[in-house]
Symmetry: C2
Subunit: 230 residues, 2 copies
């Protein structure tokens, strides 16, 4: 019932409008949503936090008009949640390399740290976003990040269960270990990404400290429980 009427209106307005002030619209084929996400990440990397990033600034940076934002997200909060999801989708790949790594404990640890650094540098913006919003302003985003971390931790716990020394550990203790490792690795990543200028020497030093820390933690594993009451 509205078909013919719409047609009529369309034709009328089309013919009525003056064509000399035509605005050429660039075809965006649906990648604007991704542009918004990426643009936000980039802006957040500079010196802003999520709730100080304005909708207008973001759309300005992306190259669309403010109101067009609402075609893709109900508001900035939802953009934040989408960013969290995207970030963790990226981060879950960190442990993929670890799975296939074999050899001495030290080799594995070195591999983990290297993989961590590589992934962190490759997905710098996502890592930085999670780091800065983890305890930052937006409560919803905070909780989403907390959930994501719990997920990572659970996956690592599953991986850990395959190691000889950890075979007989309780699920609780495995989670505890995984949490400790995830936290440490998080700190390492944040530390490394904080350095804007990529001083290779300083980075190598940070990595060595990281390896030492992980090694120290692992050193305690064989003596867990048995020496815990000393």
């Amino acid at each position: 019932m509205r078909g013919s009427m719409n047609t009529l209106v369309n034709i009328m307005t089309k013919t009525a409008r003056n064509p000399d002030r035509r605005v050429r619209r660039v075809s965006r084929r649906g990648d604007t949503r991704q542009d918004l996400l990426s643009g936000a990440l980039k802006l957040l990397d500079e010196d802003k936090s999520l709730d100080s990033l304005s909708l207008r600034e973001l759309t300005r940076h992306v190259g669309i008009v403010p109101t067009a934002f609402y075609r893709h997200f109900p508001g900035m909060d939802e953009l934040g949640l989408a960013l969290v999801e995207e970030s963790f989708r990226v981060m879950r790949k960190i442990f993929a390399d670890v799975r296939n790594d074999t050899g001495s404990t030290d080799r594995i640890i070195a591999g983990v740290v290297k993989s961590l650094v590589t992934h962190a540098r490759k997905n710098r913006l996502h890592f930085r976003f999670v780091a800065s919003e983890r305890y930052g302003g937006n409560p919803g985003v905070r909780e989403a990040i907390r959930n994501g971390m719990r997920l990572l931790q659970g996956e690592l716990a599953l991986e850990l269960a395959r190691f000889p020394y950890l075979k007989e550990w309780t699920a609780n203790d495995l989670q505890m270990l995984a949490a400790l490792l995830v936290n440490s690795m998080t700190m390492i990543a944040e530390e490394i990404l904080e350095q804007r200028g990529l001083d290779k020497y300083a980075e190598r030093e940070l990595m060595e400290v990281a390896e030492k820390q992980l090694r120290l933690i692992v050193l305690g594993i064989p003596h867990w429980r048995s020496g815990a009451t000393g």
Copy 2:
């Protein structure tokens, strides 16, 4: 506009009697500067980050007119730095209890965790501020926090040097250990403070995980280096 004689007398008496003495003046309506700092902490605890907290909102909350803010700080950035300083002045007291603690390793660890939780709860706002701004928006604040953490870490390293097993550790390794412990404790504190509703059971559980993690780290200490090359 006044007579040059008065100015001359002023200068003469000042230079003659107390050129360097700082005069303390009591503000008219209480310590507004402190009110600004405390008010900012309180507002930041809710759901904001430093750079999304507006000068007007803060002054509104404190009960002064916006422009009066500039009587106390050149801008919000400087307020942020003052907050960092105040926060770390408070946090430095955490390890004070630890110093006097003696007994088994487990006792000490339990004491540390309890002290940490107690201090964190007591100075909730300061801890939350540091947590959320550590990797947050403002670069200056971020760097100030980084420095503060390094300071804490150094102090802990000094304390650690007194323990038997650590006597012969290198300074570097002690710093590494201190960093690992400070990071872990930071995570613990943030985890606990994140819980708004003070569920005593959940808190106890978090504390036990924390104790386990610290114990695991400590377990590795006697085997450091000796088992590191495996």
